[in-house]
Symmetry: C2
Subunit: 256 residues, 2 copies
Amino acid sequence: MRYARVSVGGRAVWGRVGEEDIELLTGSPLEGDPEVIGGVPRATAVWLPPVVPPVFYAVGMNYPRHIEHVGAATPDRPEVGYRANNALTGHGWPIVKPAEVEGRFEAEPELVAVIGRTLRHASYDEARKSVFGWTIGNDVSARTWQHEDRTFWRSKNSDTFKPMGPWIETDVNALAQTTTLRVNGEVRAAFPTGDMVFDPFDYIVEITRHITLHPGDVLWMGAESTCQIEPSDTVDVEISGIGVLSNPVQREGNRA
Amino acid sequence: MRYARVSVGGRAVWGRVGEEDIELLTGSPLEGDPEVIGGVPRATAVWLPPVVPPVFYAVGMNYPRHIEHVGAATPDRPEVGYRANNALTGHGWPIVKPAEVEGRFEAEPELVAVIGRTLRHASYDEARKSVFGWTIGNDVSARTWQHEDRTFWRSKNSDTFKPMGPWIETDVNALAQTTTLRVNGEVRAAFPTGDMVFDPFDYIVEITRHITLHPGDVLWMGAESTCQIEPSDTVDVEISGIGVLSNPVQREGNRA
């Protein structure tokens, strides 16, 4: 099943995504068993981030070839960082490159686990069962800021820097897929989605030793490869079996 | 005015705090002008974190004497980090010290700004007007983890490590107050709340150059002094003109 959130008359509404239409639901599938209250054509849907997480977890340095490429040490245990909800945007919406950003401005194609239950002290098997489904994230990063700043606050969390979507796929073996990054239709990177140092369930086991996970929390799993993006580009992140997250890149406009 | 969230029959309900009673409200004062629907005695209230923020911002290295004490460089511009909502707990609830934590386990008494409106590209004057009110935070930190880990994930964000409350005070000149940290009634630190390198409005101006702030976002402003806390202690953070945030410290229990 594919679940999304779409904008209907300015309101965020959960939907079940079919081939032609999206069935609109009474509520979140993370909080019960919602009923169908209508439908909209999929072709004209306005996609929102499929969930606004209570906590937004993100992983770095989780693909061996990426770690080798940047010359970092391989982590000896799963550790997480955070991203911020202001930066979320949906499938089809622009990534806005701030006027002040110079140097490398990059896309990072990531698998995202969406947590489906309240969870503490999880076993590996409980961690597997706790994932409601999978979506796609683009961890857009301004490298100059990333190197200049004490935290990732603006390098990775400026408005629109975290496209996520288009939907949550509940029926896929996410770790057996391929992640492909395209700019204007041209493949810039492709790698086995599951070729990770620690898998999502390893992270969930480690996180929940100290932290309660909640339904709707998301865990972004890192990227093996990244690529430069520029205003007027369109950047697609595809994970086979899940879908394609596509966003145009825009230059920040003049302020009124 | 003082606004809080209290637990009533297992539900989180907003309230307006009086001397004897809490008037229960139809909704959040951050989202409109709620009406009174009842009341509960203040003495028996079960306090929740006064807000669950869309984004949880936190500042480090913001008091000159603290910076001098740790031998750090004084920041030349306002930068923020993040904390996580799982760690929030209310006034009166236990801070749970994990069984694995050794070494310094410390309280950090902090002023918290609660944002009241949607805000981008704010002037200093707009930043001043954007703060709905002020509350109190205790940025509990496990120093060994803080030094060992790549991020602050478990050192500052383990469950119960972020007491906040007891309420939001809307009518106070927060920067003209005194912050006092007490353990078991004994004063361990006291400092002028407003003796900061950058004040909350400086941070809001800088944040909103790149980021949209939303109603309910919180900004924790850092601490000048910290102190060790241990299971069976009670730790109070008082900010004059706002109130007292008090929490007992417990050792993590055996797991079933």
